[in-house]
Amino acid sequence: MTLKEIPCGKSVKVTKVAGEGPVKRRIMDMGITKGVEVFVRKVAPLGDPVEITVRGYELSVRKADAEMIQVE
């Protein structure tokens, strides 16, 4: 499963961040790493991006990038 498929209001655990290069590094730099708990807070009014809570702060991630984040 990827983060993209998780509905609002659900908490999930990150298992792996796929992909490579700048986007992956940026996602991980912001604290989305293996084992961390991620809460999907809301979706932007136009349907993308999504707002998530990770490590106690709010982060905005595009759905295309959320697809790289594998969760369980």
Partner: protein, 727 residues
């Protein structure tokens, strides 16, 4: 002996506030060599010999964003005496991630945990002693906003700098990673100082593509990389990132106690409403309406009119007291002393008008900047990007590009200046280049003139002008992001949504003033010089073989008319090869509304109405409908007025980029106008010539540029050598 302390920290950690608190008004704003990232330094209050260097706000020392590369390059090659690492106490876990990287540089680090007042208020607890012990550096509690602990943090940093010894990193990764790092460190020779070895070892292991240029001897570590990647089943970059967060996760429990787990903070409550699925767009519309109506239509117009028509015009009244404008005062003074007519002209119509053109925009701009500073520092600006991202990213712009474009529909100058709020370099440059395509207030008279003279005042002309502007922005975005100039920078959109908080009046005003002043300073010269140039060429010329100064109505004898005659052929393919149109387009560069007045004078009217009703008949006789619309399109899209060009120059902060922007705009205007005229002529009059064929080819080429494939870059294209040499 003077020392330099670098201020490093995450965006939104209160770094700017701390910098202001440390340095007061002793600041120098410049640019990092070779790039458009702003560089701020300042002298520490009460310490003449201590320089504070404000590094760009960064989350990491990765090689992928301009800010990060600039910051780490400075830290590696200039080696400040100490680093003051500011950490947001309300968001400590992610903030410490950068700290673990700073510790590895071999430079003394002092950590300032900011927003302690907020932390204490929420009942959370941070054990400073534990944190200091686990990270191996001095830790100070501060509140930059209230000024608490700021002086202490500065003193600790000075003391650390005096010791000359780097803070040895005490954080440890998993044993197998440590082992590999040690192996890499052993491969380095004496050209890397002992205390920097860990940093370089980590970067080599991460396959960092920018580190090799910083090393004299680059050891081959591919075997180590292969080994650890196989062992841990991940790439080295991810392994290191994981290890850092794992270490932070392991120590955070001891250092930080959260008081209430599930209670919503005030910020959360605000955000629930403000970015609510249904309320977000209406609230956004209301906020934009307020910003626009105050900074553009009401207070903004009043301020601009006051500056342009009052102070730099006929005069204004203060509580019934008539205060004459500067030109009026100067004119009577100059006449009184019997000043020569040409000198009087130079001073009044050249210099004063030029200075007026620069300063006339400032009051309105300051009003806008107050709003921008407020929206930025309260946290709403990030939400604008969040809300609008979906629409704007399709054509290579940021959600934050919305504000510059909205303001640009009033006046392009503050519109361009508003692009400063966009952090991403690529998005910002793109916004600067395309904002002036939106018809601004000064272009409306041109639209009215063409609509009235050639199209019988048809209702669709004005909306079509806006349509052309928006289409130009969208197409330019798509085309430009694929060009070499833009494709070089990766632009991941993983953005922090900072907690809302009320900014201080001082910080808002300071930001307002900094931006306003930088416009006057950096944009002023170009605006002034070009205004004087156009004044000179329009008021001097040959009459009956004699070179002399001209009257208002003798524009057709001027140097400008000669220039217009000389360049008119360029515009012949666009359908308006008449010299009058060329001259009007040139005077339009001073201010777009001049186009109408210039036509008036050239057709023999000293004064015309704003929409030029008097000359509608004459203009209709000299132009076809296709030519007139082509003229309109050209004036909408081509290089904006000098003031806006000055703003572009200021915001691009780079000569090459400035000319690229102006060149692109003019080229696009020419190409689109050519197509409009040639294709319009073909369809309405059935004329098919070389021009028509060229227009068809242009359209095909344009479509190709729009649809050609594109791949986002994986590396940041920046010339490090140039930065290193330009010390």
């Amino acid at each position: 002996m003077s020392i330099t302390i670098a201020l490093a920290g995450n965006p939104n950690s209160g770094k700017t506030t701390l910098f202001n608190a440390l340095t007061g008004s002793n600041q120098f704003v410049g640019n990092w060599p070779g790039v458009t990232v702003e560089k701020k330094e300042g002298k520490l209050k009460g310490h003449k010999d201590v320089m504070i260097m404000d590094l760009p706000g960064i989350y990491s020392l990765s090689p992928y964003t301009l800010e990060e590369v600039v910051a780490r390059n400075y830290l590696i090659s200039e080696r400040p005496d100490a680093i003051l690492n500011i950490v947001d106490g309300t968001n400590i876990e992610r903030n410490l991630y950068l700290s673990t990287q700073l510790m590895e540089l071999g430079i003394p680090v002092v950590m300032a945990v900011n927003m302690m007042d907020v932390v204490e208020k929420s009942g959370d607890k941070i054990h400073i002693g534990k944190l200091s012990q686990k990270l191996g550096c001095e830790v100070v509690e501060i509140s930059a906003l209230k000024g608490n602990g700021v002086q202490k943090a500065a003193e600790k940093a000075i003391a650390a700098a005096g010791k000359k010894e780097g803070t040895p990193p005490v954080h440890k990764f998993a044993p197998e990673v440590e082992q590999i790092l040690e192996a890499v460190e052993d491969k380095m020779d004496g050209t890397v100082p002992q205390e920097q070895k860990r940093f370089f070892a980590v970067k080599l292991l991460e396959k960092d593509d920018k580190i090799q240029s910083q090393m004299k001897h680059v050891p081959d570590v591919s075997e180590e990389i292969r080994q650890i990647e196989e062992e841990m089943d991940d790439d080295t970059e991810s392994i290191i990132t994981n290890e850092r967060y794992a270490y932070i996760g392991a120590i955070i429990g001891e250092c930080y106690k959260k008081h209430s787990k599930d209670k919503l903070t005030v910020s959360d409550k605000i955000d629930r409403i403000v970015t609510n699925r249904f309320l977000a767009l209406p609230i956004f519309a209301v906020v934009m309406l307020i910003v626009y109506s105050i900074s553009v239509t009401t207070v903004g117009t009043w301020a601009t009119d006051w500056a342009n028509d009052g102070v730099f015009g006929d005069g204004w009244s203060l509580f019934g007291l008539e205060i004459p404008g500067i030109p009026v005062l100067l004119e009577s003074a100059l006449t009184a002393v019997g000043c020569a007519a040409w000198l009087q002209g130079l001073i009044l119509d050249g210099i004063v008008a030029g200075v007026g053109a620069v300063l006339g925009f400032v009051p309105q701009m300051l009003v806008l900047f107050i709003f921008l500073a407020f929206l930025e520092s309260c946290g709403y600006m990030a939400r604008i990007a969040f809300i609008m991202d979906r629409i704007f990213r399709k054509f290579g712009l940021s959600g934050k590009s919305f504000i510059p474009m909205l303001i640009g529909s009033g006046c392009g100058v503050p519109g361009i200046m508003a692009s400063r709020t966009i952090e991403n370099d690529r998005d910002r440059k793109m916004t600067i280049m395309t904002t002036t395509f939106i018809p601004c207030g000064a272009k409306l008279p041109i639209i009215a003139l063409i609509a009235g003279a050639l199209f019988g005042g048809a209702w669709w002309v004005a909306p079509s002008a806006y349509f052309v502007g928006i289409a130009a922005i969208i197409c330019s975005g798509i085309i430009l992001k694929k060009t070499k100039m833009f494709a070089g920078d990766p632009a991941p959109f993983v953005m922090e949504l900072p907690a809302y908080h009320l900014p201080t009046v001082g910080n808002v005003l300071r930001s307002m003033w900094e931006r306003g002043w930088s416009f006057i300073k950096k944009a002023g010269t170009i605006i002034l010089l070009s205004t004087i140039f156009v004044w000179f060429t329009s008021y001097f010329g040959w009459v009956g073989g004699k070179f002399r100064m001209l009257e208002d109505m003798e524009l057709n004898h001027s140097i400008l008319a000669a220039i217009g005659n000389g360049v008119a052929w360029i515009f012949a393919p666009l359908g308006w090869g008449d010299w009058r149109s060329a001259v009007a387009a040139i005077t339009g560069l001073v201010a777009k509304e001049n186009v109408v007045g210039t036509f008036g004078i050239l057709y023999g009217f000293a004064e015309v109405a704003e929409d030029g009703t008097e000359i509608w008949g004459t203009l209709a006789g000299s132009m076809t409908a296709a030519a007139a619309y082509s003229f309109l399109v050209f004036n909408l899209l081509c290089a904006p007025c000098f003031a806006a060009m000055g703003a572009i120059k200021r915001e691009m902060n780079n000569v090459k980029w400035f000319w690229f922007a102006i060149g692109y705009q003019t080229l696009l205007a020419y190409a689109v106008s050519l197509c409009v005229y040639q294709l319009g002529n073909w369809m309405t009059a059935g004329v098919f010539g070389i021009g028509t064929a060229a227009a068809i080819l242009l359209v095909i080429g344009f479509i190709y540029l729009l649809v050609r494939p594109y791949r986002e870059s994986k590396t940041l294209d920046v010339n490090l050598k140039r930065m290193a040499n330009a010390k």
